[in-house]
C-alpha cells in the first residue's frame, strides 16, 4: 500500500468551490483593511496633530508646545475637575443602581414590572434632552427656584449651572445603565452561597453585606469603572450645564478649543489624547477586573434565590424607586411637554397661555425635517453598515481566526478607549489630509459613529458567536458546505438574535449621540441633537422642548417597533 501511494490519483479539486474559499479570503482582507483604516486614521491624525503648531491642512512646524501647554493651571484644573465629576458620578450611580437592582430583583417589591419598564425608558432618554429639562427646572428663573423662593420663602435656590448640577444630572442619566449592568449578575447568582450563610445563622443584612455584595464585587468594580468612563467622556451634560457657568471638563474643553476663536487644534489634539489615555487606562482596568471576575464563584446557575420581605421598609423602597424614575424620566418629560405648549414661560401652569405654535413651527420647518431625516439615515443606514462590519469582525476574530486575526481584534477594540469627542477630533484632523470630499457630509458622521461604536457591536455579536458550538459549523463543512456556506446557513441564522440586538444598540446610540457629531456637522448634516441644542442656545426653549418631545416619542416608538419586530433584540 505504501509503495503504491504515488499511483493513487489525487482527488479532483472542484474549481468553483476553491474560488468560493478565495472569496472568503478577500472578504477577510477587506474587513481587516477597512477596520484598520477606520480606527487608525483618526488616531494617527490626532497624534500627528498634537505635535503640530497649526490647524489641520495649514502650514506649520513640529512642536511639543501642545503638551507643554497641558500643564497650564487652567488645564490641570480641568483635568482635576473631570476626574472629580467622574468619580462622584460613578460612586453615586453604582450605589443607587445596585440598590435598585437588589430591591427590584431580590425583595418582594410590588411594582417590579412598572419600575423595570420605566428604567428601560429612562435608559434611552437622551442625555441632551434630560440636561435641557433640568435646566428648565433648575435655572435661576426655573420651576424649582420659583417654588423655593415664592412658595417656601427660601432665597438660596438651587444652582443647576454648577459641578453639583452636572454630577446630579449625570447620575440621573447613568443609573439605568448601572441597573442594567448589575441586573444580570444579581439574577444569575447561585443561591447556595446565601443559603449556606443563613444555615450558618446569618441574618438578612449579614447575608447582604457579607455574602451577596462581596460575591458581586467584581461586577460592582467593573460597573464603577465603566460609569466613570462614561462620566468623563460625556459631552451633552457638561456642555449644557457647565459652559454657561464657565465650568469646563475635558470634552467641553476640546469643543471650545475647536469651535470658538482663538482656536487651537493642536492643543485640542493633546487634550483629546489625554482624555483618551484616561479612558483607555480605565477600560484596561475594567477588562482585567472582568477577567479576574470570571474565576469567582458565581456559577450562573439560577434558582434558589430567596426573595427577601421588605416589611416595614416597603415605603422606603417605593419612595426610592419611584422617586428616581420621577426625577430621571417623569418630571423632565412633564416639564418639556409643558414648555412646548405654552406661549411664554410662567411657573404657574394655571396662569399660562397654551398654544400649539411650537409644533406647527416644527411641522412646517424644512430645517427640522432635514435633521430628523438625517438622524434616521445616520441611525438606520449607519446601523446596517456597522452591524455588517461588526459581524464580519467577530466572525473572523472569534471563529475563523486566520493569521493576523489578533491585529483585527486589537484594532477593533481600540475605540473602547477613545471618547466620541476625541474620535471626531481625529476625523477632523484626518479629513484635511485625505483627498475625499467628506467634510460636512452624513457619510463622515456615519463613519465616525461606526468607528466609535464598532467594539460595542462586535462584543455583542462575538459574545453569542463564542457560545455557538464549533461542531455545528464543522458538521456543515462535513455535510459539504464551504466555510462561506457554513457562515451563511448555520452561523448567521444562529446568531441572528445578537445581530438584531447589535442593530438596536447601534441605532439607539447613533440616534442619541451628540459628542461625536458636534465637531463634524455643517448646516447640511445637522442631526436632531444638534438642532435641539441650537434652538436651546438661541433661547428658544419652547421650540427646543417641542422638538425634544417629538424626538422622545420617535425614540420610544422605535423601541416599540424594534421590540415588536425582533423580540430577540431586547435580550442583548
Amino acid at each position: 500500500m505504501h509503495e503504491a501511494q504515488s499511483a493513487v490519483p489525487i482527488a479532483r479539486k472542484p474549481r468553483l468551490r476553491w474560488d468560493r474559499e478565495v472569496l472568503l479570503k478577500v472578504i477577510y482582507a477587506a474587513t481587516l483593511v477597512l477596520v484598520v483604516l477606520l480606527v487608525m486614521t483618526p488616531l494617527a491624525a490626532l497624534i500627528y496633530g498634537s505635535f503640530r503648531s497649526s490647524a489641520p491642512g495649514v502650514e506649520g512646524d513640529w512642536t511639543i508646545a501642545n503638551y507643554a501647554n497641558l500643564a497650564s493651571a487652567n488645564l490641570l484644573s480641568t483635568i482635576w475637575l473631570t476626574l472629580l465629576v467622574g468619580v462622584l458620578s460613578a460612586v453615586f450611580c453604582v450605589v443607587i443602581g445596585t440598590a435598585m437592582a437588589l430591591i427590584i430583583h431580590r425583595t418582594d417589591f410590588a411594582y417590579k414590572n412598572i419600575i423595570t419598564a420605566l428604567i428601560g425608558l429612562a435608559f434611552y432618554f437622551p442625555a441632551f434632552i434630560l440636561a435641557m429639562a433640568w435646566i428648565i427646572l433648575g435655572s435661576p428663573g426655573g420651576l424649582i427656584n420659583f417654588l423655593f423662593r415664592d412658595v417656601l420663602g427660601i432665597t438660596d435656590g438651587v444652582k443647576i449651572y454648577s459641578v453639583a448640577g452636572i454630577v446630579f444630572v449625570t447620575i440621573l442619566h447613568q443609573v439605568p445603565f448601572v441597573y442594567l449592568l448589575m441586573r444580570g449578575p444579581i439574577i444569575s447568582m447561585d443561591g447556595v452561597f446565601e443559603e449556606a450563610a443563613r444555615a450558618a445563622g446569618a441574618r438578612s443584612h449579614h447575608v447582604l453585606f457579607r455574602i451577596t455584595l462581596p460575591l458581586l464585587s467584581y461586577s460592582l468594580l467593573s460597573s464603577l469603572i465603566l460609569t466613570f468612563v462614561l462620566a468623563i467622556e460625556q459631552f451633552a451634560i457638561p456642555a449644557m450645564l457647565g459652559l454657561p457657568g464657565h465650568i469646563t471638563l475635558l470634552p467641553t474643553q476640546i469643543y471650545l478649543l475647536v469651535r470658538f476663536p482663538p482656536t487651537d487644534y493642536g492643543l485640542a489634539a493633546a487634550v483629546g489624547l489625554t482624555l483618551a489615555a484616561l479612558t483607555s487606562l480605565a477600560i484596561l482596568a475594567q477588562r482585567r477586573v472582568t477577567r479576574a471576575g470570571r474565576m469567582a464563584t458565581v456559577t450562573g446557575k439560577a434558582g434558589h434565590l430567596r426573595t427577601l420581605p421588605l416589611g416595614r421598609w416597603r415605603w422606603a423602597a417605593n419612595t426610592f424607586c419611584f422617586g428616581f424614575v420621577f426625577l430621571s424620566l417623569i418630571l423632565p418629560s412633564l416639564i418639556l411637554i409643558y414648555m412646548s405648549v405654552i406661549k411664554w414661560y410662567v411657573s404657574n401652569p394655571f396662569l399660562a397661555q397654551y398654544t400649539l405654535r411650537n409644533y406647527e413651527f416644527i411641522w412646517n420647518s424644512a430645517d427640522a425635517h432635514k435633521s430628523i431625516w438625517n438622524t434616521l439615515i445616520v441611525s438606520g443606514v449607519g446601523g446596517i453598515f456597522g452591524v455588517a462590519l461588526a459581524f464580519l469582525t467577530s466572525y473572523f476574530t472569534v471563529r475563523l481566526k486566520p493569521p493576523s486575526y489578533r491585529l483585527l481584534d486589537f484594532t477593533a477594540s481600540l475605540p473602547f478607549g477613545v471618547p466620541g469627542m476625541v474620535m471626531a477630533l481625529g476625523f477632523l484632523w484626518a479629513y484635511a489630509y485625505l483627498p475625499l470630499p467628506f467634510y460636512g457630509t452624513l457619510a463622515l458622521i456615519i463613519v465616525a459613529f461606526i468607528t466609535r461604536y464598532l467594539p460595542y457591536a462586535t462584543e455583542a455579536i462575538g459574545g453569542q458567536l463564542v457560545q455557538i458550538d464549533k461542531s455545528l459549523e464543522e458538521a456543515a463543512w462535513v455535510g459539504g458546505a464551504t466555510k462561506l456556506g457554513g457562515l451563511r446557513r448555520i452561523l448567521l441564522p444562529l446568531s441572528l438574535p445578537s445581530i438584531q440586538g447589535a442593530y438596536f444598540l447601534l441605532f439607539m446610540a447613533f440616534f442619541r449621540e451628540m459628542s461625536s457629531v458636534v465637531l463634524l456637522f455643517t448646516s447640511n448634516s445637522k442631526v436632531i441633537s444638534i438642532s435641539i441644542w441650537g434652538f436651546f442656545e438661541g433661547a428658544d426653549w419652547g421650540l427646543a422642548s417641542s422638538f425634544s418631545v417629538l424626538t422622545t416619542l420617535i425614540i420610544f416608538g422605535v423601541i416599540w417597533l424594534i421590540v415588536w419586530l425582533m423580540p430577540a433584540a431586547r435580550r442583548v
Binding site: 500500500m1 505504501h2 501511494q5 493513487v8 490519483p9 489525487i10 482527488a11 479532483r12 479539486k13 472542484p14 468551490r17 476553491w18 474559499e21 458550538d469 461542531s471 455545528l472 464543522e474 458538521a475 456543515a476 463543512w477 462535513v478 455535510g479 459539504g480 458546505a481 464551504t482 456556506g485 446557513r489 448555520i490 441564522p493 444562529l494
Partner: protein, 356 residues
C-alpha cells in the same frame, strides 16, 4: 481500502501531537481508535475529515489522496465525501429534523424530490420518520443522536467518522445505540472509523481496534487479540482489567521468577526485545483463589492476603496482596478480608509483557 493513512503527523506549532501514524480501514470495515484523552485519536479523525490540516504524511479516502501537505494537497472537507457524527451531535437548532438531514444533499444541489426521497429513507433507517418536522429542542438526547446519524449517512458517503458519539448518552441508551450504529453501518456496507475512550464500546462494536497512546499507535488488531495478546502493559491495562507483577527471566524458557523468588511457568509472552523489566499480566477471571491451607493446585501458586473484597453480584472482586504487588481476582467463593490465601493461575492464561 476506504481510508488509508500513511505516516500522518500533526503539529501545533512546536508541539507534535500525532507522530507518524499509519492505518487502514477496508470497505465495510468498522475500526475503532481507542485511547485515553489526549492520545491524538480525535486529532487523527479530524485530520481525516479535514477539520484539522495535517502537518505531514498522506491520507486517502476511497483511493483518492485528500491530504498530503508535502505536495500541497489539502482537499477541503466539503469535497471529501464523508459522513461524521460529532460528540455534541451538532444538530442545528434552527432547522427541523428533515432540514438537518437534508443539508448535505441541499448544499450539493440535489433536486428537491430526490432530497425528500432520501431524507425519508435516512429517517426510516434511524426510525425517526414521524419526527421529521420537529425542531431539535423538542427531541431527547437519543433522538438528536439519531438525527446526527441520519445526517451522516444520507447521500451514501464514502466513509463514516464517529467522534465519541455515545459519550453524552446515559448508560442504558448507549448500549442500544451501539447495536443500532453497527446495524446501520453493516446495512450501508460503508467503512467506519470510530473514536472512543471506552474500551467496552471498542471491543463490542469493532472489527478491529487501534489502541493509541501519546500520538503513537500501540497496537492494532481484532478485539480478541487485544484482550488476550496485548503487546505491552499499557494495552493490557487499557483494554479490559488486568493485574501486573514484576518478574525476571530465569534462563529456562517459559519459567519466570517473582519478587520473592517463587518460580512461575508462563507459556505466552509478548515480543520483549531487550526489555529486562518484564511484567506478568493476569486477568482477574483467569486467576483462582484458594484457602491458604488448601492443597497446592500446581506449580503456579502465590501466597497472599486479602486486602479488599467487593461483592459484585455474579462474583466477588478480591484485591489480593502478593509479593511484588496486588492482584485483582474474581471468585464466586467467600473469603474474609485479611485472610491468608493462595492464588493460582494456568500457565496458558498468564502473559509476559514488557514493562513501562
Amino acid at each position: 481500502m476506504s481510508i488509508t493513512v500513511r505516516n500522518l503527523v500533526k503539529r501545533y506549532g512546536q508541539l507534535e501531537v500525532v507522530h507518524s501514524i499509519s492505518l487502514d480501514v477496508a470497505d465495510g470495515e468498522f475500526v475503532s481508535l481507542l485511547g485515553p484523552s489526549g492520545c491524538g485519536k480525535t486529532t487523527t479523525l479530524r485530520c481525516i475529515a479535514g477539520l484539522e490540516d495535517a502537518s505531514g504524511g498522506s491520507i486517502s479516502i476511497d483511493g483518492k489522496i485528500v491530504s498530503e501537505p508535502e505536495k500541497n494537497v489539502l482537499v477541503p472537507t466539503y469535497s471529501r465525501d464523508i459522513g461524521m457524527v460529532f460528540q455534541s451531535y451538532a444538530v442545528w437548532p434552527h432547522m427541523t429534523v428533515a432540514k438537518n438531514v437534508a443539508f448535505p444533499l441541499s448544499v450539493r444541489g440535489v433536486s428537491s424530490d430526490e432530497i425528500r426521497r432520501q431524507v425519508d429513507e435516512a429517517l426510516g433507517i434511524v426510525g425517526l420518520t414521524e419526527l421529521k418536522d420537529r425542531y431539535p429542542s423538542q427531541l431527547s438526547g437519543g433522538q438528536q443522536q439519531r438525527v446526527a446519524l441520519a445526517r451522516a449517512v444520507i447521500g451514501k458517503p464514502k466513509v463514516l467518522l464517529f467522534d465519541e458519539p455515545l459519550s453524552n448518552l446515559d448508560a442504558k441508551l448507549r448500549e442500544g445505540t451501539r447495536v443500532e450504529i453497527r446495524r446501520i453501518q453493516r446495512r450501508l456496507n460503508v467503512a467506519a472509523l470510530y473514536v472512543t475512550h471506552d474500551q467496552e464500546e471498542a471491543l463490542t462494536m469493532s472489527d478491529r481496534v487501534i489502541v493509541m497512546k501519546s500520538g503513537h499507535v500501540m497496537q492494532a488488531g481484532k478485539p480478541r487479540e487485544l484482550y488476550h495478546e496485548p503487546v505491552n502493559r499499557f494495552v493490557g491495562d487499557f483494554v479490559g482489567t488486568a493485574s501486573f507483577l514484576p518478574v525476571e527471566a530465569t534462563g529456562d524458557p517459559g519459567v519466570w521468577r517473582t519478587a520473592d523468588g517463587t518460580s512461575v511457568c508462563v507459556r505466552r509472552a509478548a515480543m520483549l526485545g531487550n526489555s529486562k523489566a518484564c511484567q506478568l499480566m493476569l486477568r482477574p477471571e483467569s486467576v483462582s483463589i484458594l484457602d491458604d491451607d488448601a492443597q497446592a493446585a500446581g506449580s503456579n501458586s502465590l501466597k497472599g492476603r486479602v486486602l479488599e473484597a467487593s461483592y459484585m453480584g455474579p462474583y466477588t472482586e478480591y484485591l489480593v496482596e502478593v509479593s511484588g504487588g496486588t492482584l485483582k481476582v474474581h471468585s464466586q467463593f467467600d473469603f474474609a478480608v485479611d485472610a491468608p490465601v493462595q492464588v493460582h493461575f494456568n500457565p496458558d492464561s498468564g502473559r509476559i509483557v514488557p514493562g513501562e
